[in-house]
Symmetry: C2
DNA sequence: CAAACATATGAACAAATGCTCATATATAAA
DNA sequence: TTTATATATGAGCATTTGTTCATATGTTTG
């Protein structure tokens, strides 16, 4: 078997461009956080929860019924949404009501829809 | 062990709201596609690739060096980005150059950054 | 206080995901 | 045409992720 040379072992095709890119790239932390944020939107259960909350605040029980899913599954996903500051909650007696944390959520989803609908 | 009643076995807390939500929810296909789109943004390697392409088109080799990752790893991620129409490619000799497919990519990432930066 | 109900959460498990390694394909150069 | 280089891709593997099940926590009611 022949040992192939790896592409770009040395400075290769466009070292100048590579350097420019490296200078402009946001720091690792920001990139990681950004990916984490989009990861939260990247699940259809969570997207459905967010869409449901477009209308109005809802308690866990309502969400569970609207999306036809286990209360436990919904609660787990709500925790992720809460941790990432996409929803907020308030308790009223036995129920806990969830609502969108801010307008960014709507804007981000709207941009995503734009792309989907071409 | 006591058998606990499940929450919402019957129409529960706000059946009216639940119905309204059900009427307004986009169809399953759209929700799935939307989640798929965000899932693509939800990985820091792919986010870094997209950021790198903010500057200029780059060949696989450049990306591989800029992000300090295997050519194979980059190619695999580029395939995902291509499949989801977030980047486009053109061949020039041995190199294949990648660039952003359209402005939506920039807009979506910008909205994400807004949320990160509070 | 005890019982009932709404929600939260840890553990376990199956499915999805991202990387590596080996290799295939495409183009250029010798 | 043979060889070298750039990119693409399938298989394997380790990690992550979403759901379920059991149970804990918090609140109201009797």
């Amino acid at each position: 078997m022949v040992k192939h040379a790896q592409c770009c072992d040395e400075k290769c095709v466009h070292p100048d461009l590579v350097n420019r890119v490296l200078n402009e790239l946001p720091d690792e932390d920001a990139l990681y956080d950004l990916a984490e944020l989009f990861k939260v939107f990247g699940d259809s259960t969570r997207i459905r929860i967010l869409f449901a909350l477009f209308e109005t605040e809802l308690c866990v029980c309502d969400l569970s019924e609207a999306l036809d899913m286990t209360q436990s599954a919904i609660s787990h996903q709500l925790q992720i949404l809460r941790t990432n500051k996409l929803v907020k909650s308030r308790r009223d007696g036995k129920q806990v009501y969830y609502s969108l944390a801010d307008e960014h959520v709507v804007t981000i989803i709207a941009q995503g829809l734009n792309h989907i609908l071409e």
